[in-house]
Amino acid sequence: VCIHRVRSCSGIRFIKSKYVCVFDKSALKYSHQQRLFRTSAVSCGQIVQFKLSDIGEGITEVTVKEWYIKEGDSVSQFDSICEVQSDKASVTITSRYDGIIRKLHYNLDEIAYVGKPLVDIEIDASKGVAPEEDVVETPPMSHEEHTHQEIKGHKTLATPAVRRLAMENNIKLSEVVGTGKDNRILKEDILNYLAKQTGAILPPSPKGEIIPPLPKPETVPTDPKDKARKIPVPVSRPIVFSGKDKTEPITGFHKAMVKTMSAALKIPHFGYCDEIDLTQLVQLREELKPLAQVRGVKLSFMPFFIKAASLGLLQYPILNASLDESCQNVTYKASHNIGVAMDTEQGLIVPNVKNVQVCSVFEIASELNRLQSLGSAGQLGTNDLTGGTFTLSNIGTIGGTYAKPVILPPEVAIGALGKIQVLPRFNGKGEVFKAQIMNVSWSADHRIIDGATMARFSNLWKSYLENPALMLLDLK
């Protein structure tokens, strides 16, 4: 109740300055006794004002640039609270206390003053602060000993819980070797120190038995270690998985995928798969690769697949068409803008090669190189990504044999190419030979494409690739 009153009072600042936290540096300067106002009914903690500490170089004001916490968050000692900036220096302010953030005194881009309150932190009553009586009876001397041990200019670092443990067992923090970050003293260090002294590992004393701190650090009181204590038997703990589910909004590429696929769902797909013997094509490519290299172009199999598809589309133009929204009209597209699905860091993109029907295999290869380098740099333009009429997806470069590709609207067909495998096959003479086999999986819009058309197109495409010389006959 008292604390609520304090919060709502407008003249708050004057009242609050009397509440000096036991761990605050300024406690050293005040030699009078400290009183804490607390009620027994409400078990809320004590609100402490964490002031902005000295930045150095005589700087008195800084700008708050980023808050790492918000009101209501719980913080531990040394957690980052905010980032402030002053004259080309960026400073990370860390918390001195464990507790809950109750108030931020500044908004972003406001000027904060050194020595003035930065945040209000509510310190957990059951943890860091010893009960009233102890604090009131204690002369500041012993608090100094246990809270700020300045040894050769070194401040011994330890969390409030560790300090209490040391206090309860009458250990001088200066005598304990810290093994934590920045030589921080951890609970294990206190226990190890104790173990060395008594030859046994003692559990920390339960909360009810808090021993009042001594008036003089030198006098050793009745040693609680004299009482017989049992060494705790290690209990096997059940394996606890502390992973948490993570929910985040869908943005960027995924958002785009969701839209495309939702539209694609409206298309009734049918599939048709086949096997292509690429033995001759593999040989041909080996011969042509160095020649293309001389001209500065990397030649893969895709340019052949794309050109063969275009030759096939000349015979079956319905596969290069588009159905309108109401399914009333079919538009036969004149240009063969064949899209090539590309896997980038961000996700799937499908740039297309324009007008394949008038391009040579070399020109297609050159254009693919350009699209691939732009794609990996994330610099493809809208022109490259729109206007596609037919798509090939070379999933085989990653792996797989057969697939079930999804048509990209407003197109009506798509082909997925599996990986090239060396498999035994029979030749015309009934002999077994090594064949380079690739699988193709087509999907088409069953509203305007029928199975027979797809099969015939596939056979034609297959014949061009199995016997590349055939392409010569039909080249335009």
């Binding site: 980023e66 900036q85 080309k88 960026s90 495309t260 609207p409 407003p410």
Partner: protein, 373 residues
């Protein structure tokens, strides 16, 4: 004379870097001079982070010497759109990095040297460091007219800026780093540090443009190696240590455990662009389409690098309004990034009935939007 890194030096360093408590029986007590073997700006910034987070600087200060291949480095609280020409950076393959210290934007290339002075928070003193640098320069070339200003810049001939400063203060440690122009490409520098983006309103720290000059222009016999050496020499004298430079590999996890994670973090979009303070874009542009000129007004609020609020004002019916509102809805929540916008825009086109005319108009609008990013 940069000494070759011998195995002994590397072992010494790994001992020094790992043990938090001083094993200070060796000759390098009081100070340590290290130089990076890498020219990758992210790796080098990660080394700074690592030293800041892991090294105990109570009894020993560290000087870190590094150089980067072409990169633009913005300050912790700056806005990259406001500070540089991102399009040009992408075209020229120049990296963009955000450092953890404050201050303004700089251009790095191999003709620029970087110096980082690591101390405890208490011993943080920028003026002293800069005076050390000036002393070293004067010892190398007494006729150089160089001095430190009260803005922590170093000026040549009272007029040209040859060094800029920034600093980072943590709980127990602090570092002050500065650049030094020896022989950098001034032409590229001025072209990349000029922002073409209009209509930006932001509270991000602005940079102060300054006339720059290379030390090389003043004295063509100077090289980066000479400058690095002279500064190391002066540091060694002032800290009473051997003039001994230890080379480190910023990718070596055994010497710097956890360094590769730090390097990765510095390269993420969330750090480089996402840490930009909230800003707004409010601009209009003309689009020329088939003999007609169209007026387009765009308003966007960008927070954490993502579009929070988006408003596009087009002449009525030029594009189907449903499609436009779909575009605005899709852009909201997306990164303020040309690549993502292109993908989204081209995908949206797929899901609506369209013809060539619509497509060319749509592409024109999107190309113009992307120019803002």
């Amino acid at each position: 004379m940069v000494l070759q890194s011998s195995l002994k030096n590397c072992l010494q360093l790994s001992c020094i870097l790992r043990t938090p408590k001083a094993g200070f029986r060796n000759t390098t007590s009081g100070g340590l001079i290290i130089q990076s073997l890498s020219n990758d700006v992210y790796q080098n910034l990660a080394v700074e982070d690592w030293i800041h987070d892991h090294m105990n600087l109570e009894n020993r200060q560290v000087l870190f010497l590094w150089r980067n291949s072409p990169a633009v480095v913005i300050g912790r609280h700056q806005n990259p759109w406001q500070e540089c020409n991102l399009r040009l950076l992408r075209q020229k393959n120049i990296k963009l990095a955000r450092r953890r210290s404050g201050g303004g934007t700089v251009y790095h290339d191999l003709g620029n040297i970087n110096l980082t002075f690591f101390t405890t928070r208490k011993k943080y003193e920028r003026m002293e460091n800069l005076k050390l640098v000036v002393k070293a320069l004067k010892a190398l070339r007494p006729q150089l007219d160089v001095h430190v200003t009260n803005r922590y810049d170093i000026l040549l001939d009272r007029h040209y800026k040859i060094s800029g400063t920034a600093a980072k203060l943590g709980r127990t440690t602090a570092y002050h780093h500065c650049t030094l122009l020896c022989n950098a490409d001034k032409f590229v520098l001025s072209s990349v540090l000029k922002s073409p983006y209009k209509g930006l309103k932001s509270n991000a720290t602005p940079s102060m443009p300054a006339s720059v000059k290379n030390l090389f222009e003043e004295d063509p016999s100077l090289t980066c190696e000479m400058l690095l050496d002279a500064i190391a020499e002066e540091y060694a004298i002032q800290h009473q240590i051997d003039h001994h430079i230890t080379l480190i590999n910023p990718a070596d996890e055994t010497v710097l455990p956890g360094i590769n994670n730090k390097t990765k973090e510095l390269q993420t979009w969330e750090w480089v662009y996402g840490k930009t303070p909230k800003f707004s874009v409010s601009t209009c542009f003309d689009m020329v389409h088939k003999d007609s000129v169209l007026d387009v007004k765009v308003d966007m609020d960008v927070k954490h690098g993502r579009i929070e609020v988006c408003n596009i004002d087009l002449p009525e019916q030029w594009l189907p309004p449903a499609l436009c509102s779909e575009l605005v809805k899709s852009l909201t929540g997306n990164k303020f990034c040309p690549n993502e916008t292109t993908t989204l825009a081209t995908t949206l086109l797929r899901v609506c009935p369209h013809d060539d005319e619509l497509q060319s108009r749509w592409n024109l609008l999107c190309e113009n939007l992307i120019m803002l990013m």
